[in-house]
Symmetry: C2
Subunit: 438 residues, 2 copies
Amino acid sequence: MREVSIGIIGFGTVGSGVVKILNDNADVLKARVGLPIRLKKIADLDLDSDRGVKVDKSVLTTSVEDIFNDPDISIVIELIGGYEPAKTFTLKAIENGKHVITANKALLAEYGHEIFRAAQQAKVDIGFEAAVAGGIPILRSLREGLLANRYEKVLGILNGTCNYILTAMYDNPGVSFDQVLKEAQTFGYAEADPGLDIDGFDTAHKLTLILALTHGIQIKPNQIFVQGIRDIDAFDILMAKEFSYRIKLLALIISHGQDVEARIHPTMIPQSHPLAGVDGVFNGIFLRGDMVGDQLFYGKGAGKEPTASAVVGDIIEIARNVVHGEAGGVPPLGYSDQWKPTGHVLDMSGIRTNYYLRIQAKDQPGVLSNVSGIMADHSISIHSVMQKGRHASATVPVVFLTHRAREADMRLACEKISKLDSIEGQIKILRIEDESLS
Amino acid sequence: MREVSIGIIGFGTVGSGVVKILNDNADVLKARVGLPIRLKKIADLDLDSDRGVKVDKSVLTTSVEDIFNDPDISIVIELIGGYEPAKTFTLKAIENGKHVITANKALLAEYGHEIFRAAQQAKVDIGFEAAVAGGIPILRSLREGLLANRYEKVLGILNGTCNYILTAMYDNPGVSFDQVLKEAQTFGYAEADPGLDIDGFDTAHKLTLILALTHGIQIKPNQIFVQGIRDIDAFDILMAKEFSYRIKLLALIISHGQDVEARIHPTMIPQSHPLAGVDGVFNGIFLRGDMVGDQLFYGKGAGKEPTASAVVGDIIEIARNVVHGEAGGVPPLGYSDQWKPTGHVLDMSGIRTNYYLRIQAKDQPGVLSNVSGIMADHSISIHSVMQKGRHASATVPVVFLTHRAREADMRLACEKISKLDSIEGQIKILRIEDESLS
């Protein structure tokens, strides 16, 4: 063997980033693999656009078959995203004995079991570090370096768009969610159709991959509780600041013996929490292992080069294994038939956490006693109350922080509170992750 | 194969941590490896002390030969530390075809090449994640996940003792180095003989391992510029705070094309730097890759369980490879004969950085002009000057921050300044790592 040949399907942003790294860092890659990496084919329907990277015309093709059928190519990189034709292409590559590298979290979250099973049978590897937290080698750390631990807690800021928006709202008090979203779209930090990001689904895809690695539990994204950041307004940001909190969209995995909470929602965390300083488009993963204690991983979670860095990291690892005849067929935990998880994901209604509850109350006597009475009836004990803002209008916002309460109780209480005559509009609840609160 | 058998040499703190993890987390380890891990032998001269972990008496032996000669044992864990007999034992284990896992940074820093060469020939693996930053999977990340990058900068807080001391001095303004050291010794955060830690040698061992992985350059610890933290006093801490800096003992690796700076010294970093919040006994590694951008890894760098977590992580990885017949013989970059680094470590006298310079000056006219004149003669331009403290005594401390200057120039300037009649005692210089300073 004189070189390791690869084929790329999808010549978009990440694809051109991969080509850039293969070009710019060819010398270090060769030294690190032991052999040169040869980019043999790139399949894309658009062969004409300038991607800003140098690539030989003969490498380009509109036919994925050119990649599947090339016996030289041992590694296929799927970078088209979405479910189809990505799934078909991935399975076809595996079937043809190719190792596959993908950044496609949606595909793996939905069809991971099928894909890893096919890979195990075909004795090929699946590299997917780029699917979560871009350039941060978090999946590899969970799969390898930290494996001695039971994972007690994993909290992740996994979506750069959401983190950019929440950071901008914090840095510019009073600015509205819509304003910031528009600005993010202008700067390219948010998609024209931002739903996948701001409604939390992208984070949900990533959480399911992490959960499979940490707990061996496979769950579909739509089985997880997901709340996005659309409803966060300037007043919530202000209140969080008053209580020395930051609001972050978190993926939360919290172990309880064999079982585990898995949920995604805007979360108030103390300003002193290691994740509180993870700002802008950066991603961060805080984890607690029973042996290793607390760790933080911080870095760029998206973008052309950081994501391509993770893809090329996988290329190097698989290529080294190919060179040394060691590649193939060890599925990651959670996708292995060997691993039979004994626990399961807890129902959201049963979890216990601290809440921020915000009501719009008529400025009249008895409101507070009515609201707190309903909470008490549902075993919810109040930690603090804050009434802030102008009293010019007929109603005032009132904010409660609660001691730890059951989600089901909180929902029932909210239903009753919302029916009070003295309350106007929607009640808003946010969850708090603060270990210093009981 | 029904199990993977291991032998441990050295039943001290980390050794008992490893046993604790093997006991407490046997179920997850078995699931993650695919087979049970069996602790077959522990060799130690002391068989009687209670280590607080359950271990079958029949496992204990005073003879390392019982481990080397046991054909069942495929992985040997060396946890005695120091050069000898650790080196002899490690080479003997390799010779007998055993994979070796070690937490011994001194041994690898001094004899890494010899050990990895022997391992390559014998086709066995060396696991050494525990040698740097305890439970943080930084070596694995450098060797695998981030390999697509040229490493432009690596800054590490790698010694928990030093970081504990510097944090305590920051948190308790005015307290002396000696007081804090004594306290650290009482709490078990510093050794009775603290030199290896506070004089920077432990950090130097770790830096050489990182440099071999990031740049493929092998250098002995005594070839690196090393300055410890013994001379940091309460006044330096105070001054740092005045300039919005923190003082941390850093290992610095900074690339300049093919060549690289590698140095260890107390360093002033901006309070806004990701490493500034790495406090107490925690370790942190900040790195910049040309593709991935900035990353931070944060966690416990020492202690029984965190270090044992890294050891057991290596056990799992090697055991999985043993199970799948894929272990052995791929040396890490820098210890591979394939890798011929073209660059080298720059001489300290040639590096350029910003300096903090502190003099004790007689309170008389002309001192400032004399000092700044000498600096100007050596192409050192002053960024700011601060004179602080009581004027009751005949001399006052004066502190200068400089623009970027050459180390050799700074040393010459200091020599001349120290000869001025208006200066008393030693001149102190500290280096600053602040990208916002020119």
